[in-house]
Symmetry: C2
Subunit: 205 residues, 2 copies
Amino acid sequence: MNKQVFSSELLETAVSELSKMPSIGRKTALRLVLHLLRQSENDVEILGNALIDLRKNITYCHICHNISDVEVCEICSNKQRDSQTLCVVESIKDVISIENTQQYRGLYHVLGGVISPIEGIGPSDLEIESLIQRLKSGQITEIILAFSATMEGDTTAFYIYRKISEYGIAVTTIARGVAVGDALEYADEITLGQSIINRVNYKTK
Amino acid sequence: MNKQVFSSELLETAVSELSKMPSIGRKTALRLVLHLLRQSENDVEILGNALIDLRKNITYCHICHNISDVEVCEICSNKQRDSQTLCVVESIKDVISIENTQQYRGLYHVLGGVISPIEGIGPSDLEIESLIQRLKSGQITEIILAFSATMEGDTTAFYIYRKISEYGIAVTTIARGVAVGDALEYADEITLGQSIINRVNYKTK
């Protein structure tokens, strides 16, 4: 399809700006923009300013590097949480995912990426040095490495494992296995193999 | 899935505002917002302001009711276009679609909807009166009714046809038929039937 041409500059600008976002093409952007035109001026202003304010005012917790509105995030400053356990993740998205499980009460450390020689991301580009500083403070007794099961995730886990072995802290990693609700026959062999090796005692809820 | 909870108010506001848009759920909104956080402050400001400016400053051509930056839109004020032919459409989206075909050089009239008793939209809610005023001015010799092939589209076409029959203007409607590239066997019977009834002389390009 040819690039659509609009009779309005304002429309053109809004559509082309929106379509810079991932998975939003010009057709989708146009549909969204036409939707916005049917909303009140005030509603659109709230949306626009929400995006601008977010980008302008967001800060990252200077302890765990999670997204935050204040210097020390809600999780780090929460005295109810287990400050002896630290879960190391790639991005803030992972923090949100793990928080949603409501199964973890410890603290986090967001690396801001994983080691990826192909994309030119080395250990020094990540928050690994600050992780080690946190460990040196002595409170932490267990580190959970929670990365995606990719080459980059595994590399990062191994790098950190080597780096921190001298501190005598327990290092664990999240379990790999057949997903809840998945049929065995569709699980890939490596996952299924891992789930057999790392089998756990059967328990009823 | 439970509603995701974010540690940041700014993040929460941005996600919930974005997810008010059609076909954007909270998961997609979060992905878009995290994308925006990786962009420069300036880029996000441009996006936010593009949406706000569009809604605040957009006007509709007071002749054809198409979207426009000025009082009379580019199409209406273009002297090169055929001012004797008027294509009546439901929405500005249809103007964009027809303009993209580059097959039409006449003018438009945007109704702002179609007659739909179910949704409580009657003729007086649409730009039908202003259409008749345009016809009375006497320049127009042909009207093309270009509505979707739905009950509402057909009703609207019939209503307008009855209303304007007294002015002695040719009334046509866009051809219904098997879409270019579609296999005959998959065309529905009504469409295929229409395409036989309205067959045209064979011509080679």
